[in-house]
Amino acid sequence: MNRFEVVTPRDLPNAVKLLSGRNHAALAGGVDLLDLLKQNIVAPQSLVNLKGVGAMDAIETDESGGVRIGALVKLSEVAANPTLRERYGAVAEAAAQAATPQVRNLATVGGNLLQRPRCWYFRHPDVNCLKKGGDRCYAPGGLNRYHAILGGGPSFIVHPSNLAPALVAFAASVKLIGPGGERTLELERFFTLPRIDPTRENVLDTGEVLIEVMIPAPAPGAASAYLEAREKQSFDWPLVSVAAIVVSDDTHLIRDARVVMGAVAPIPWRSHEAETALRGARLDSSAAARAAEVALKPAAPLSDNGYKVPIAKALVRRAVLRAGGIETA
């Protein structure tokens, strides 16, 4: 870990000003940043401490019935929040399953969305991969069991956020403040594929700060589920995660659905194919299975990660059924 200073700006505009400078990094919960610093993946001169520059630490219900989550809200607070648990179950569940209890008490919502990939080539201090400005991605032709089966190339990382698929499923937006002012972006558009720029996972500009996540009010009759498949059950990154929202009536007729997969692609992977397949169908296991089938149709696995396809199919099917109130194995 290099030496750095820690500066606390007087306010958010000054934080933006500082972060616009070269070699500065934003410090919030600090969990992923410290990991990157310890691995010598980043070496900022200055950490800009975002704690204390503005609130950003509350979960509030807004007038339209939606919820705003400050970027500095801890994952443990998301997991425990009664409103989120009741109305945005998949979000609370995703937070509850992230990392460990001790990390959830430190890690923030903003940090979770902005964390860098867990790819073992990216995290290796001696490997200069494409994502770090090197000339190649080592996953194809290398050890790629945890890598992307969808949307990969030229980098094959998977997006590591547990929260992101659930938030994308609920059509959340993020509020960013930067040198050019404030902007609001659908979270789905916030993440970006490596074919656009393999060194980044999102469109956050230099100097920009993610300050808030806004989730609109769920549609009447909407219910959600979040599921993960992990090799081990105590602290592990998911092989596949799925957040599903099903809007249905008493007869199980699906009016709308959102299906987002995590850990399968460099971004939270929304399956419009699955959603189309579900819309208008009566929710049962064969409808859910059809959705799962079409969701994974575009999958293009690497040498070692084809097994993620059946797992993803199983989880899509189960998440859809669970969201629709049909319990399954």
Binding site: M1, E5, G30, N49, V103
Partner: protein, 224 residues
Amino acid sequence: MPGNGDDQRVHRLSRRAFIKGAGAAAAAARLIGAAVPLPAVEVADNSSPNPDGAIAERLGPGAVTIELKVNGAARKITVEPRVTVLEVLRDHLGLYGTKLVCDRGACGACTIHLDGHPVVACMMLAVDARGHEIVTIEGLGTPDRMHPVQAAFVQADALQCGFCTPGMVMSIAALLEDNPSPNIDEIKRAVAGNICRCGTYPHVFNAALAAAKSRGAKPKGGNA
């Protein structure tokens, strides 16, 4: 060394900036693939001006004196901003009960309580812990006056080599503050971030159940 408030060790260190471009550490050439060293860090001056008052506080990169509240006492220490809470506890305050094992927040051996909540001390900068109440394993009990959770760990033999034990104890103690009568699944989830290579988990579960019982709570179900 614990108890005297000030850190003794810093006096061995020069207060000047030691390194011109400490980023050399980070620039340790990446030898696999095209080596593109990261830019060396220009060390910012500790006393650089702040004309427009944009900055409320500037710490480092040299050592700065900060105060932490540890086990009920205010402790002054002088550390670089890159130092973690864990390093401060061990190397500056002589509180060796908190262990470093994975150094990445993955094993829970360095679990402390921050304002009553369990956190990993290895993934938190010391400067970020200012203004918070830190409790370490030493703040929980002593061999002569053990906390009920510590006593239960001994009785259940919930320890083997003992290296993960302080972290396990801290996780269980925090759980019982929140939930005085946990069932076994809640116990397992509460220590899911603690790794024991000796594999002593079953006895940890027993200890947690016994500690809850000794505090007068009734376990609610569970299959232990």
